[in-house]
Amino acid sequence: MPTILIVDDEQHIRLLIEQTLEELEDDGVEILTADNGAEALEIIKEARPELVFLDVMMPKMNGFDVCNTVKNDLGMKSIYIILLTAKGQEFDKEKGRECGSDLYITKPFSPKELRNKAKEILGLQ
């Protein structure tokens, strides 16, 4: 059963993404959430999700660091990590590449497109 992890310190954003991806649960997708980087890392280690929506700006541990730990330190290269960024229009691609992320989506995003992207990645279309 594919698992998606949503990491964001903003409760409303987690809720928005959860609701956006809700219909995927019909296809048997499990949706997990975390409100900080450290927790996200714990969940990733345990649940090994297929797809992670990872907010960049978070307290305790930011998205880049989490992504870096997962992809490079833990070697979990198969996990598809999408960075969610509000850092202005030009996303720091260099940092994104260094930490090993696969895609980035800037806030605000269109829920429909986000859902379509998730489906595409999980091969549910």
């Binding site: 409303h12 928005l16 609701q19 850092k87 030009e90 691609k93 806030k107 605000p108 995003f109 269109s110």
Partner: protein, 705 residues
Amino acid sequence: MFKSRLFIKFFSAIMLLILMFTILYYMLSVPYIKGKVYEIEKTNAKTVMDNVYELIKSSDNGLEAYKDATLQARKEELKNILLIVEQYINSVNREVKEGVISKKAAREKILTQVRNFKFRNNDYIFIIDYNGRMLSNPTYDPKLQGIDQSRLVDVDGKHLLPDMLEIASKKGEGYYSYKWRRVGTATPIDKLSYIKKIPEWDWVMGTGVYIDDIENVVNLREKSIIEDLRRILKKVKLAKTGYIYIFDTNYFNLIHPNKTLENVSAKNFLNPVTRKPLLPEIANVADKPEGFKYKWDKPNDPGHFIYDKISWVRFYKPLGWYICSSVYVDELERSSIILRNRILVVAFTGLLVLIPIGYGLSRKLIGPLRELYITALKVKDGDLTAKSRLKSNDEIGILSDTFNGMIERLRFNIDTLDSKVKERTDELQKAYDELKKLEEMKSSFLSSVSHELRTPLTSVLGFAEIIKESFENIVVPAVNPDNKKVKRAISRISENTGIIISEGERLTSLINDVLDITKMEAGKMVWKCEPINVKDLLKHAARATSSLFRKRDSVMLIIDMEENLPDTLGDYDRIIQVMINLISNAVKFTQEGPITLTAGRQADFLVLSVIDTGIGIPLGQRDEVFEKFKQLGNTLTDKPRGTGLGLPICREIVEHHGGRIWVESSPGEGSTFSFTLPIIKMQIAVNTAKPAPDGNESTGVGKVG
């Protein structure tokens, strides 16, 4: 030192001055001295000749005096002799008186005695009676004794005896001159006789002397004088080889330094130029100050009569002598030539001596200047520790000290200025740092504000979309469409959520634009430099704006580009942003009609234009559209349909690339927005990744890496 232009100038000036003085000295002195020396030599020659003349004159006068004295002595002698004879006669007379002898015997005794009386050179005493009968004359034939000689005449026909008797009878005694033949000679010569009356006997006695006796003595004397003159004149030199010679009225050379010309007649000497006898010509200028000029040869060049000679002549009449000086003209000038040469040597030597002195002087004067200017150069090059080492108590020393003082002062001023500048710079730096801090604060403030705005905006937009989706997909199909109120509510909810979404999107782009322009203006934007292909660019822009056209059937996009446009370099994403912005504006303001994208080339620039057929822009507002928050129309009455930052951002981007953006428009017909990009040849292969072709800018989804 010789490289110093000042030194060369100064040294040359000194040399020139010396040369000028030398020339001036030469020109002022030499001709004058030459003339003077010539004059002196000439005067000298004349003076020598005058002296010779005077010498001759005095010698001659001496001779005359000697002659007179001799004559006088003879006269005295004659007188004395007659006195002796008279005393003898008186003694015989006494004997007669005393009766010792008879008068007749006495007469015979006296006459015999007197007849035998001889003195000197057979000179004798004669006695005549008052009647002119010769009573005693040893030179006479004895036959003549006692015969009347009153008819006796001399060679001039003078009656001698009557004349003598007359003197004796008148004065008692006296002298008488006449011509008479010496005993044994034929030529009559001057004779002087002294006669005295002997009254006791009625006689007149006389004795005489031949003047040539005196003249012989005088002639001897004269000869010795001539010898003396010769000796003296031989030593006389006029100029170098000039001499004095003497000839007489017969053109007989009496004295001449040349032995072969002495004691010979020079009558036949010819003037080599006129071919006439020379001496008469010379004699002709006697006692004339200008002298006589003629050509003659030289002892060392005999036979060549080409040398100028000058003769001054004086005529000494008593002797009939022409005293001539004979001088070579060039010799008269010789002294002046020697003098001139000496002056030249002195001048030249002076020049030689003055060159090192001038050099030394120039060096002494220029050297310190050189030291000063080297120091000045050092100071000019920024070495304020440079110091002139000159020390002297003259003006140069003062200049050097003053100069050093100036440098000192300059250094002090610069030090003061430096510290002041540092102070001010520090203050400025502080202010700048503060400003930078403020700027950074502003930037980070905007960044965090934008972040903080985005997060709620994300929720608003996201939930609105989900609501709309759920509402349209789930709620609407489930309610009864027959109820009018429900139907109206459904359509209102649908419309209102649409408004929320579109306004949310507008807010998003406003935030993005504010962030962009802030970054650009603060210089914080990171610009990329990557290859830009115009064809790709236009296609990309068309694709990115395709959704805008999808909603508007009446508006279509046309691409019209020149073939073979070159690639250039720039920030591809930003240029795309410009294109999208211009196309969006064109769509916004065009009701219906085509929107054309053109691309061409003008010189070294690519020109890209977006041409619409919309409402156009009034003339006065064309420049304003590129200013921040300036939108077409009155913002109070017309609702702005954009952020008001699109075109200012476009201008920032284009100008950053070195291009220009402008608008051409005619209201009601449409506008053309154009911008240029400089064509930059790709020298270094730039391999910066472009966003994935499928990346959707409007939704902000992009591949990483």
